[in-house]
Symmetry: C2
Subunit: 338 residues, 2 copies
DNA sequence: ACTCACAGTCGAAGCGCTTCGACAACCTAT
DNA sequence: ATAGGTTGTCGAAGCGCTTCGACTGTGAGT
């Protein structure tokens, strides 16, 4: 293993000079700089991460806490994680992957040990038990998702309330009056995950304002669960002509079931998805949808964090505006056939 | 920030004693140990990761390189990543998330800087450019996936060749003679990703041995691509009664299309999937499938790696035996209706 | 009573880096 | 020519931990 000292000797300068070449924190003459860089290349030198962390009390690592559950909104999580990792690299940071398993202890461990300089939390619950810890430390952090109380915190998320409203508006504009919401699995609501409830708020509020009737049903993904849920909805409110689906694994089952029952999409029934674009475009009917901007969220989160680490940036809530893309699954409500 | 020295002082012992309490590398009297542990708790001490890494030349971090592409077999990757992270924690390791983006440089950087003690590589190509680097370093590593030449490497993977064979055998047993394989996207084969080719080998070999006819068609996921592929297959070989699908995002489209064309599953046509159980059970027809044991792979990989780090363990290729679960999508071939 | 082994503890020497203050050499303004 | 500032470099002091060798006291063996 090559050390700073060896590079220094090879280049005929002192260790500190090499260090300054590397960090650029003091000016170095062109000649010296080149000699040092040459030596670094020749010797294949890589600074030792531990030593660096110890001396500078900066690890250049960002911790990312992802949820342990692998059953929900997985592609979104993955895309965020990858966006976080690649964006972090462009700022010179690496990413440490923590699973929710350890819970708040992970926060303590990482903060206390100086393993990471900052952290990003995903899958934030409205009343997340990790929040007090974050508020009580001076380690920068960013949440992806919105808790109930955002004071003293930096958050990045899609504006799910606006997303709900947007879906309703789109259906209203097309003349639909009775709409049903296929939600995430009941467990998601029970955990009080913010995004699900905020979407619902937006849906309810706007549909009230527009005088529409709204039915909300949580739904486990999959064909069987969807079949049961759909039957219940159509039983309770046969006049339903618009669906909003916020559950990736319910999209295709819903479309299949509607088809099977002879309800044509979009002629008889319109469907709006809240899901990644990939899901929307690969469905059997190209789905009108509000996309989950996973990459953008990951990127934003890192950039907020880096800003904080650089002493710039403050606590703020960044809500990304939803965008609805009309595809083939929504159309005018059918003429009233009471 | 609390340091070892402060804990030592608080407990009235020397720093080295505290260190030995922590590491257990020398015997410590019960009384002293308890006093130290008490102090640690009272002061909320966490050892500094950087200092530890520097002094011991061990970071207790495992690097995990995941593919950059977010478009393919995502849930599997995610599940593996999570299994790696949680298993690593049980052995006292944290996980650093690297994306394929940097390519071989990432290997150099991590190895050279001592950022991680070992690494796990996913999405290994048959002739992966990172392999020479791995062979040339003494840093332990494990591949998830199988390259062409495994000499000097430790690999963990599902036995995809046996998987292919198993699928064929199942269909053969049910009396099918003409089978079609819906493969991964063409890009996967072009990249020479091992698993896809090995599956194909297994499929071809066994179907030859059993005197069956086999058609293989790569397929981008999604409904439209699947429609085109299916049409071509049925056009070329109308007598096809068995399908093997190795592409998560083609499963549901295939089932929908078959249904739409009046081909009943499993009465007219049988379908076997190679996919995570979750996909198989959530499909519109509960899919007979060989599951991808993502968790098991991640766990195995970490355990191999930890064994190496402990000086136990050697280079070996661990192939996990495939298991086929019969569900509702396969049945006897229809009577010959030439 | 005397050695020997061993458990239990301590002090000190680093691990490889960053960073601060010092200093020499040079330039510019007086 | 001189004071004052700049620029480029160096030496040394840590950062918080691990680990080695050394030391002390105790109990067993003779």
């Amino acid at each position: 293993m090559v050390t700073l000292a060896e590079v220094a000797q090879h280049a005929g300068v002192s260790a500190s000079t090499v260090s300054y070449v590397l960090s650029g924190k003091r000016s170095i003459s062109g000649a010296t700089r080149q000699r040092v860089e040459q030596s670094i290349r020749e010797l294949g030198y890589h600074p030792n991460a531990g030593a660096r962390a110890l001396a500078s009390s900066k690890s250049n690592i960002i911790a990312l806490m992802i949820p342990l559950r692998t059953d929900m909104y997985v592609p979104v999580m993955m895309e965020i994680a990858i966006a976080v990792a690649t964006t972090a690299r462009t700022h010179g940071y690496d990413v440490l992957l923590l699973t929710g398993e350890e819970g708040p202890d992970a926060v303590r461990r990482v903060t206390g040990s100086g393993l990471a300089d900052a952290m990003i939390l995903m899958d934030v619950q409205l009343d997340d038990e990790r929040l007090p810890l974050l508020r009580g430390t001076d380690q920068p952090s960013v949440l992806i998702g919105l808790p109930a109380d955002t004071s003293g915190l930096t958050c990045v998320d899609l504006d799910f309330k606006a997303t709900g409203a947007l879906c309703v508006e789109h259906l209203a504009m097309l003349g639909h009056r009775d709409i049903a919401v296929i939600g995430e699995a009941p467990a998601v609501y029970e955990r009080h995950t913010g995004f699900a409830e905020r979407t619902l708020d937006g849906l309810r509020l706007r549909s009230q304002e527009l005088g529409m009737r709204l039915l909300h049903r949580p739904c486990e993904g999959g064909y069987d669960a969807m079949a049961v849920t759909l039957a219940r909805i159509l039983d309770e409110r046969p006049s339903t002509t618009g669906f909003v689906v916020q559950n990736e694994s319910a999209v295709e089952p819903l479309l299949a079931l509607l088809r099977q029952q002879g309800r044509a999409v979009p002629e008889d029934v319109s469907v709006v998805g809240i899901c990644p674009d990939q899901v929307a475009t690969q469905a059997s009917v190209r789905l009108t949808s509000v996309s989950i901007p996973a990459q953008e969220m990951g990127r934003h989160a890192v950039e907020q964090l880096v800003a904080k680490l650089d002493g710039r940036g403050s606590n703020e809530v960044v809500l990304i505006a939803p965008e609805l893309t009309q595809r083939a699954s929504t159309g005018p409500a059918p003429a009233n056939t009471n």
